[in-house]
């Protein structure tokens, strides 16, 4: 397929081109934007979005949605903080992290069970779950902040391995495993089959319910992973952690080319879109537009989505030149 066709037809190429163009343009205005330090800071900021977007891509490919990930991240941060903080429960860091991962997976499993066993629409299930998790989180925090995180825990957020932050390693591993799962395993092919035509998949003997349980549980688990490697970067855990995160992740998956009605979409697309949307805030700072510019961050993110959607619409109106590979 010629390059120009790839760029216009495959979303990860289009978004990737936009990403590189943005890097070049902002870098030309302010070279400090492309310094190793800044690129690393931006990557670290993108880690939680990238990790959760991998799980959510599978959920959306299956034609479902999960909007409870932001509230789940908030609750998991609180639980992790309460369990490991020396002035609270003071468990060993490993135990606290283990419980956090288990709890994340368990909440995802409950979402999946309600969707499959309860035959409920996932947007309702996860909307209700989001509200409940927010309530439990506030109940646990009781209006206070958790400030004394143990150094062992802060290592996950601040430490480096072989010169790269631990959190970036985690994101890299999650992305690689997810791409492998999606493209190289029968499980991945089944996920796409079940998403593009659930009835046909069921008749062909695919365990559609089992696949959905898997995707929801994975998303819960990855939300926990994202919490463990991103929250300890801050020295304080408060009730605002994870607020609005669900919308950011859904946005990344959709901008990355995953169809909201299921069956289509790639991990790489979601990841590239997460990197692109993550550029908005640093871009506004590095273009030196003044302090007030950062107030426009959300407006620009929204405009990016509408632009992606419009571009898609226009591309589809042109006659197809070649088959999509």
């Amino acid at each position: 397929m010629p390059l120009i066709d790839r760029v216009t037809r495959q979303r990860e190429w289009g978004v990737g081109t936009l990403l590189i163009l943005t890097l070049i343009v902002v870098g030309a205005v302010n070279p400090a934007f492309l310094s190793v330090g800044n690129l690393r800071d931006m990557l670290v900021q993108d880690v939680p979005t990238v990790i959760v977007a991998c799980g959510l891509t599978f959920v959306i490919v299956l034609g479902e949605i999960d909007i409870s990930v932001g509230a789940l991240m908030g609750l998991l941060a609180t639980v992790m903080g309460l369990l490991t903080s020396p002035s609270r429960v003071h468990w060993p860091v490993a135990a606290g992290v283990g419980v956090t991962l288990l709890l994340g997976a368990a909440v995802g499993l409950v979402n999946g069970l309600l969707v499959t066993g309860g035959r409920m629409p996932s947007i309702i299930v996860t909307l209700g779950m989001m509200t409940v998790l927010q309530g439990v989180n506030q109940l646990l925090l009781n209006g206070q902040w958790i400030t004394d995180l143990p150094p062992g825990l802060r290592f996950f957020g601040l430490g480096t391995l072989l010169g790269m932050p631990v959190s970036v390693w985690a994101a890299l591993i999650v992305v690689l495993l997810s791409v492998l799962l999606a493209q190289g395993t029968p499980l991945g092919r089944r996920l796409y089959a079940a998403g593009s035509n659930p009835d046909a998949a069921r008749l062909a003997g695919l365990p559609v319910h089992g696949l959905k349980l898997f995707a929801f549980t994975l998303t819960g688990l990855l939300t926990a992973v994202a919490t463990v490697v991103s929250v300890p970067r801050l020295s304080v855990i408060e009730s605002g952690v994870g607020q609005g995160f669900e919308l950011l992740v859904v946005t990344c998956v959709v901008v990355g080319g995953t169809s909201i009605s299921g069956g289509q979409g790639t991990i790489l697309g979601s990841v590239v879109a997460a990197l692109l949307l993550g550029l908005v805030r640093p871009m506004l700072i590095f273009l030196r537009l003044g302090v007030s510019a950062t107030y426009w961050e959300r407006a620009i993110q929204g405009a990016f989505i509408l632009a992606a959607v419009l571009a898609d619409h226009l591309a589809r109106r042109r006659p197809r030149l070649g088959a999509r590979t």
């Binding site: 409920m120 629409p121 909307l127 209700g128 909201i260």
Partner: protein, 314 residues
């Protein structure tokens, strides 16, 4: 006809739940049911109730509007800006309503004519409208509105709060439209099978465009009520409002897949959420309990509905 005018099972369940909550409240704390307390507490519900009307119709067509909270913020900030520019209050209010309708119309263009999934469109404008509100106001609040304007949010007429009367008028207009025109039938036809509705000659795009515009207009009105009640306009108002509204509508028995539902259920859903919340705050003064109760209420009521009627989803 699946658009229901008469109470169905879901409405009766809701009514029983509502009576249960009120009886429990009356037992635990009789003051809660006094007319004065109820009148006082009702100030919190009108914006939610107003937004739930167009949302019911939108969800009936299998659509959704996630941008209502952000549209409220946009309208409030617009109102504040026009006020600061020195225009008279009625002009400010009219322009703010116009901004709301325009924001809704933009959603409508994308949903009805560009034909993008409404979840995506309104997710984008959820970010964009609040972003514009934050951008033009730089996060700063507007205040100092004249006392005459506060009457819109705090005043009462013949013993009834003015926002309540505005809601009742909107409810009446919507109910009459549904009762005396085929609108309800058309909308649920779109929700059941949009392609079939198009082929049978319904003006699907125009209806959808109208609905999203109406939703934006309602958000503008809700923003004015909010600003009049609090006497301040800031870019953070209405945060999370979209989820409260959708919860009320779905709790009221309107199917998120479209086709099934009605206003009566929505009114009961709004009332149930409102009374439950206010009572939990009244009795235990813990707002976080509210979140848990409302979330659990939503999941349990939809779960019960889904388990009691086998195979509806397929």
């Amino acid at each position: 006809m699946t658009f229901r005018a008469l109470p169905g099972r879901q409405e009766i369940v809701l009514l029983l739940l509502l009576i249960g909550v009120l009886l429990l409240a009356g037992r635990l704390s009789p003051d809660f049911l006094s007319a004065r307390a109820q009148n006082e507490l009702s100030t919190h519900v009108w914006e939610l109730a107003l937004l739930a009307l167009p949302m019911t119709l939108i969800i009936l067509t299998a659509g959704i509007d996630l941008s209502v909270g952000s549209t409220m913020a946009l309208c409030a900030v617009a109102f504040g800006l026009y006020f600061r520019a020195g225009w008279p209050i009625p002009v400010d209010a009219g322009l703010a309503l116009l901004v709301g309708a325009a924001a809704g119309a933009l959603n409508g263009v994308f949903v009805a004519y560009v034909r993008v999934h409404p979840l995506i469109v309104t997710l984008a404008t959820l970010a964009a409208y609040r972003g514009v509100a934050e951008g033009v106001s730089l996060g700063r609040p507007f205040s100092g509105f004249p006392p005459g304007f506060a009457v819109l949010g705090q005043g009462s007429l013949a013993g009834l709060p003015i926002p309540g009367l505005i809601f009742l008028a909107a409810l009446l207009v919507t109910a009459l439209l549904l009762a005396f025109t085929p609108l309800g039938l058309w909308l649920s036809a779109i929700g059941y099978n949009e392609t079939a509705a198009r082929y049978s000659g319904l003006a699907v795009s125009r209806l959808k465009f109208g609905l999203y515009t109406a939703s934006g207009l309602a958000a503008g009105l809700a923003a004015l009520l909010f600003v009049a009640r609090r006497n301040t306009a800031k870019a953070d108002i209405g945060t999370g409002m979209e989820l409260d509204v959708i919860t009320a509508v779905v709790l009221g028995g309107t199917s998120i897949f479209g086709g099934r539902g009605g206003l009566l259920g929505t009114v009961l859903g709004v009332l149930l959420i409102h009374e439950t919340r206010e009572f939990v705050s009244w009795q235990w003064s813990r707002d976080e309990l509210n979140l848990i109760v409302v979330g659990a209420l939503l999941i349990l009521s939809v779960l019960a509905d889904s388990l009691l009627s086998p195979r509806r989803r397929q």
